[in-house]
Assembly symmetry: C2
Homo-oligomer: 252 residues x 2
C-alpha cells in the first residue's frame, strides 16, 4: 500500500503542475461527443499520468476519461479523471480537481482529490482515516435532513429523472451548486452533509469512495448499493450515514 | 475619488480578516425570513464596516444586507454585502466574496469584489479600467452565443420565471453553476462571457457594475436598462456587449 500511496501522490503532484500551467491562460475548449468540454490540460495530464503508471507498474490496468481503458494483468486498475470539473477549470474557478484512484477488482483501495490552485488534497485509503493536507479529517454529525447542507454540480445532471434535486432544494436546509469533486472533499472535512448527483462516470466517482468512507461518510448508488465501476452513475454521499433513511426517500 | 478608494480597500481588508477567522470553523447558520442563510461572520463584517464608514464619513448613507439603510445626507451611499454567497462560505468553498460599493445618487462610482481566502480583489472605478489584484483587466471578445461560457448561481433564482436558464443551457457553449459574485470577477478578467441571474438585491449587484463596465463589459437588467438601486433584481452581465442581441432573446 505504501508504494501505491507514494505513486498516487506523485501523480497528483505532476497533474497539479500541469494544471497550474494552463489555469486562466488562453487555450482551446473543444466539445466531446457527449457535449462535455475538454482542453489540452485534460489530455496532457492524463497522458503524463498514464506514462508514469505504465513505466512503474506495467501490469496495472488504467481507466481514464480521455484515453480509455488499458486492461489489467494483475487485478489492479488505476482510474483517472485528469480534470474533474473541466467547466470550472475553463472559467478559472478553483473548484475543479484531479481524481486518482486505485481499485483491486471491485474494491477501491485508494483515492485522491487534488485541487492544485488552492493546494488542497484529500487522500483516502481503504481501512484508514482520510487525510486532508496530511491532517486527519472526519465528516460531521447531521441526523436530520432539515439541518443538512446539500450540493450538486448542475441541474442538467437530472434531465429526464424524477424531481430529485427539487426535493432536496425543498427539504434540506440549503442546496449549493457547482462544486464538482470539491464538494466530496468538503463533505469529508465536515463542512457539507450531502452530495447528490447523476450521470457520473466511473472516473468521476472512483476516487471519491475511499475519501468519503475513510472520513466516516457513506457513498453509494441511489438504491443504497455500493458503487462499482459498472454503476449507473447515480451517486449520493452522506457525511452522516444516519441521513440515509430520510435522504433515500427523496431519490424515488 | 482617491479618499473613497482608500477607504473602500481598507473596508475590504477588514472584511477579509474577519471572514478568514470564521472560514471552515464551527458557527451557527440561521435562516432569515426569505430562507436565505446568515452567519455571525455576515453580521460581524457588516457591523464593523458600518462603524468604519460612520466614523470617517458620517454624512454618507449606508445600505447593507444585514442591518438595513442609513439615509445619506450628501448624496453618497455605501452599499455593502458582507458575504455574497453565504452558502458557499458555509460549506467552506472560496467563491464567496465581500461586495463594497459607493454610489452617488443613481450612479455607481466604485465597486469592489473581494475574495479573502484566495486573496483575489477586483476594483472597479467609474471611467477607469478595472483592476484585479492591481493589474488592469478586460473582458474577452465573444461575438457568438454558441461560443459563450455562461454562469448563474442557482436554478432556484429562476423559480416562477420563463425558462431562461434552460435557454442558456441549450444555446450557450456551456453553463456553469454556483459561482456567486466570483463569476462577475471572472467575467471582468476575461474567463467567462455571461452571467445571468434573478432575484438579486441592490447589495448583490451594486459593486459589480463598475467592475464589469470598467473591464469593457455590459451589465444591465433583463430589459437592457441600466441597473439602479430600485431595479427588480434580474441582472445580466456580458463580457462582450455584442452578445446582447443574441442573449436578450433568451430572456423573454
Amino acid at each position: 500500500m505504501q508504494e501505491f500511496s507514494v505513486l498516487a501522490n506523485t501523480l497528483a503532484n505532476t497533474s497539479g503542475a500541469i494544471a497550474r500551467g494552463y489555469y486562466r491562460k488562453n487555450f482551446d475548449v473543444q466539445s466531446k461527443d457527449d457535449k462535455s468540454p475538454v482542453t489540452i490540460a485534460d489530455r496532457e495530464i492524463e497522458q503524463r499520468l498514464r506514462e508514469m503508471i505504465e513505466k512503474q507498474r506495467p501490469e496495472d490496468g488504467i481507466i481514464g476519461e480521455e484515453f480509455g481503458t488499458k486492461d489489467s494483468q494483475n487485478g489492479l486498475t488505476w482510474v483517472l479523471d485528469p480534470i474533474d470539473g473541466t467547466k470550472s477549470f475553463v472559467i478559472g474557478r478553483p473548484t475543479f480537481g484531479t481524481l486518482i484512484a486505485l481499485w483491486e477488482g471491485d474494491t477501491p483501495l485508494l483515492g485522491i482529490i487534488n485541487q492544485p490552485i488552492t493546494n488542497e488534497r484529500w487522500v483516502g485509503i481503504k481501512d484508514k482515516r482520510t487525510r486532508f493536507n496530511d491532517r486527519l479529517v472526519k465528516t460531521r454529525n447531521c441526523p436530520s435532513l432539515s439541518r443538512a447542507c446539500a450540493s450538486s454540480t448542475t441541474p442538467a445532471m437530472f434531465d429526464g429523472l424524477p424531481p430529485v434535486y427539487e426535493n432536496f432544494e425543498k427539504d434540506a436546509k440549503m442546496m449549493v451548486w457547482g462544486a464538482d469533486c470539491y464538494a466530496y472533499g468538503l463533505l469529508a472535512s465536515g463542512h457539507l452533509d450531502i452530495v447528490v448527483e447523476a450521470a457520473l462516470s466511473p472516473y468521476d466517482f472512483a476516487a471519491l469512495i475511499p475519501v468519503v468512507e475513510g472520513a466516516g461518510g457513506k457513498i453509494c448508488d441511489w438504491d443504497g448499493k455500493p458503487l462499482t465501476l459498472k454503476s449507473d452513475g447515480r451517486v449520493i454521499a452522506l457525511g452522516d450515514p444516519a441521513l440515509w433513511d430520510e435522504a433515500s426517500k427523496l431519490l424515488k
